[in-house]
């Protein structure tokens, strides 16, 4: 993927708040955005939190992906599912694992440019202590499989955040208890009045 990957603060914050709501669980979700090809790269503009229980189980994942797919198609304007995010319950684990690879492969079949973002809990701790900018590992599809994107000495090749400081925004939202208000598809299945798209969460 020649054009690189950039993300607004909204999807990154939604992914982090999802993890913050369920700190003892592994969580996952999908990333929505636009594929600008080799010229402009992939621009991630939103995230949809999916599950915090039993990530490898199939039936509700299928329903979730189909619902999100229907949603993006209804938006028109070229919005697509452009990636997958995951945070492992165990501290310091940053690997896609079997489940992550299976889901990322499935999304890659539809969108060749799709990527995966792993929330790195060690980088998250460092970010809170102002020693890291972003707590994510960008994983991309290469001929050999999913691999961490290589960042060169000028800092190119990794994920670029287009907006303000993710750290400052996250801490503000944490203090405002936004992590208690975010809803994922798992919760939606238990109470369909809960909106997994979280349209006004960060408004």
């Amino acid at each position: 993927m020649g054009g690189g990957y950039k993300a607004d603060t909204t999807p990154l914050l939604k992914a982090l708040l999802h993890g913050a709501k369920f700190p003892s669980c592994s969580v996952n979700g999908v990333l929505l955005g636009f594929d600008g090809g080799d010229a402009d790269g992939v621009h991630v503009v939103d995230a949809v939190p999916l599950f915090h229980t039993a990530l490898p189980l199939a039936p509700h994942l299928e329903v979730a992906l189909a619902m999100v797919d229907a949603y993006v198609k209804a938006q028109q304007g070229g919005l697509q599912i452009v990636g997958y995010y995951q945070a492992d319950a165990a501290y310091g684990v940053t690997e896609l694992g079997k489940t992550g690879k299976a889901i990322a492969d499935r999304l890659h079949q539809q969108t060749k440019a799709s990527c995966a973002l792993l929330i790195d809990s060690k980088k998250l701790a460092a970010m809170v202590n102002e020693k890291e900018d972003l707590p994510f590992e960008l994983v991309v599809r290469r001929p050999n499989g999913w691999q961490v994107a290589k960042v060169d000495k000028d800092g190119n090749g990794g994920l670029v955040c287009t907006g303000g400081s993710v750290r400052d925004l996250l801490l503000n939202y944490w203090n405002a208890q936004k992590h208690h208000k975010i809803c994922d598809f798992d919760e939606h299945l238990d109470d369909i009045t809960k909106d997994f798209l979280n349209p006004d969460l960060l408004a």
């Binding site: 003892s24 039993a54 490898p56 189980l57 199939a58 039936p59 509700h60 299928e62 329903v63 189909a66 619902m67 797919d69 229907a70 949603y71 198609k73 209804a74 165990a90 684990v93 079997k98 489940t99 299945l189 238990d190 369909i192 009045t193 909106d195």
Partner: protein, 305 residues
């Protein structure tokens, strides 16, 4: 008021107490009691308000309640990585109950939380040397392995535990979760079979068993999953959206050929459109903005026109 509503209402009252006054001691005590009884995991709130209770109202608490609260706050603090709060409670408990296995378990958990897994293991092994079937400690051994990332080891430890304590539903659920994490779905299915034997009318167990069967895949398993999803629909009086979706997913995968002659199968196939209609009804009433997306999903499963 049911306990869940009362718990939420108490927490709201506690959090909205006037800025210049501590929240009511009775409310915090009642809140912590309900959390203990319901065994919910609200560690941030328990650690925060439990610490306030212990700091300001310690002398008011009867002896037994004091130590229950100390233990509860310690565990909640460990969950939130509020290590100094946890250490304070843990030291108080150890001084009061120097020979208690429960106090030693708490110390082991503190070691786990601080990443000293070998020291935690050492504490647990010391207890098991004289009490090899200690329930609490056998479970901590399994969690130590899980924290180290040794999921196969955690599975072995939990298997050993359920061989002894086969009625412990939490342990069977945890074991199922570990198998699912490793993609060992047939073994996870076995755990849910044990759970359903222990609690045949549990909506959660019937649902999860169906989910696992569906994930294993192939016609026989989708057929079985269908019957467990149907049971879940029945147990929930038709209101369980997970179960309704599960029925739709099964029927969209099941091979329609060769099924028509069997009366049961005909009845089974009718569940698809019925479940689809039920979902449309629920979404129309409670979530109309998502209804167009639901319709697309059901159309792709050929359960809606």
């Amino acid at each position: 008021m049911d306990p869940t509503t009362e718990r939420r209402s108490l927490l709201e009252e506690i959090e909205n107490a006037p800025a210049n006054r501590a929240p009511s001691e009775k409310s915090i005590r009642r809140y912590l009691r309900i959390v203990r009884e319901q065994r919910t995991r609200e560690s941030e709130s328990v650690a925060k308000w439990g610490a306030v209770l212990l700091r300001k109202y310690r002398r008011v608490l009867p002896e037994e309640e004091l130590w229950l609260v100390q233990e509860q706050v310690a565990m909640a603090a460990l969950d939130c990585h509020a290590l100094s709060v946890a250490a304070t409670c843990m030291k108080a408990i150890s001084r009061q109950f120097p020979d208690s296995v429960r106090a030693k378990r708490l110390k082991g958990m503190y070691m786990e939380a601080t990443g000293n897994l070998d020291r935690a293991d050492g504490i647990y092994d010391e207890i098991l040397a004289t009490d090899p079937c200690n329930e609490m400690i056998l479970k901590r051994k399994a969690t130590c392995k899980k924290t180290k990332g040794d999921i196969p080891g955690a599975i072995q430890a939990l298997k050993h535990y359920v061989d002894i304590y086969m009625l412990d539903r939490d342990a069977w659920e945890e074991l199922a979760g570990l198998y699912i994490k490793q993609h060992l779905f047939k073994q996870a299915a076995f755990c849910f079979e044990e759970l359903i034997m222990l609690a045949p009318n549990s909506l959660t167990y019937n649902l999860r068993y169906a989910d696992v069967l569906y994930t294993i895949g192939q016609q026989a398993n989708w057929k079985s999953a269908l019957s467990y999803y149907s049971r879940a629909v029945e147990l929930s009086g038709g209101g369980c959206v997970r179960a309704l979706f599960g029925v739709c997913c099964c029927l969209s995968n099941l091979d329609p050929k060769g099924q028509e002659e069997d009366e049961d199968e005909e009845g089974g196939r009718a569940l698809g459109p019925l479940s689809a209609k039920a979902l449309v009804k629920w979404y129309s009433e409670k979530c109309p903005d998502k209804l167009p997306y639901l319709r697309e999903v059901l159309k792709s499963q050929e359960l809606l026109d």
